[in-house]
Symmetry: C2
Subunit: 163 residues, 2 copies
């Protein structure tokens, strides 16, 4: 369904403004669907992502600093997400012996098992991108990368400078 119909706004200033709205709306749509699915396993999306980072380290521990470095959203509060996972016995927290400022965080067997259950459920594949061809997925990746162009100074602009 076209974004115009989804949000009942028949016209946009231009394709650029429409693209912004469409990005925010589509990502929200996608995350809502994923969050709903994860809820049946008692996890939120950030909790799931932290759990996967911890499995990537397993059997080595991770520190909060490492989690922040690997997280998609750097500004979120890893400490409190780990709190929730610890309450559910999916991770453990122990003071790092080598540096008592740091905390070693490890995924538990229960955590590993939960990840496997979720991944075996096929939940992760139902995310909307299955409606794209492989070439379209590549195009989408290229366009998104281009949006995040850093504009230190005058990178090639395609919008008229007057508005």
């Amino acid at each position: 369904m076209r974004i115009e119909d989804e949000i009942k706004q028949p016209t946009f200033r231009d394709e650029y403004q429409k693209a912004i709205i469409n990005l925010v709306y589509t990502t929200g749509w996608l995350q809502l669907r994923q969050a709903t699915a994860f809820k049946t396993f008692g996890l939120t999306l950030p909790q799931f992502n932290i759990l996967r980072i911890l499995r990537g380290q397993h059997p080595l521990p991770a520190t909060v600093a490492l989690l922040i470095d690997r997280m998609l959203d750097k500004t979120s509060n890893a400490s409190r997400i780990v709190d929730r996972l610890e309450e559910k016995k999916l991770v453990t927290r122990t003071v790092c012996p080598a540096n008592r400022r740091a905390v070693d965080i490890r995924i538990t067997p229960a955590g590993l098992e939960l990840l496997k259950t979720i991944e075996d459920s096929g939940l992760m594949e139902k995310n909307g991108t299955q409606f794209l061809t492989p070439d379209e997925a590549r195009q989408l990746n290229a366009l998104l990368d281009k949006i995040r162009t850093e504009d230190g100074d005058g990178a090639t602009l395609h919008q008229p400078s007057c508005e």
Copy 2:
């Protein structure tokens, strides 16, 4: 910069998984930049969006139900966003005389002036899409619309059914 480098993950299962991560990451990147800019005007993104809907209605009032209908995120809590705008004297709330269950919400002159100040600042145009050509913006819109295909039953899939 490629998403692989942004999040320091050299490989993905496939272009589909990469596209999902890229969507979430790029939208977060975009919203963080926009939110930071709006903060200099004392507004959050949801507050700004509500304010624009109210201007669209002006001088007629809107109800909370209308705001929810027009909002990008239907499940967020319009009541409390209006609370914040009311505290800042950017909107008014009065019980609707015709239906005392409903509440008439109106943008104030200060609210209209703030919107104009923000829009005149050119803040809204610096959102990343200026690095796309008009044709690329159109492509992006088409791809995003395709992701939100409703799969009542077997819409055309492009991923192998086995995994």
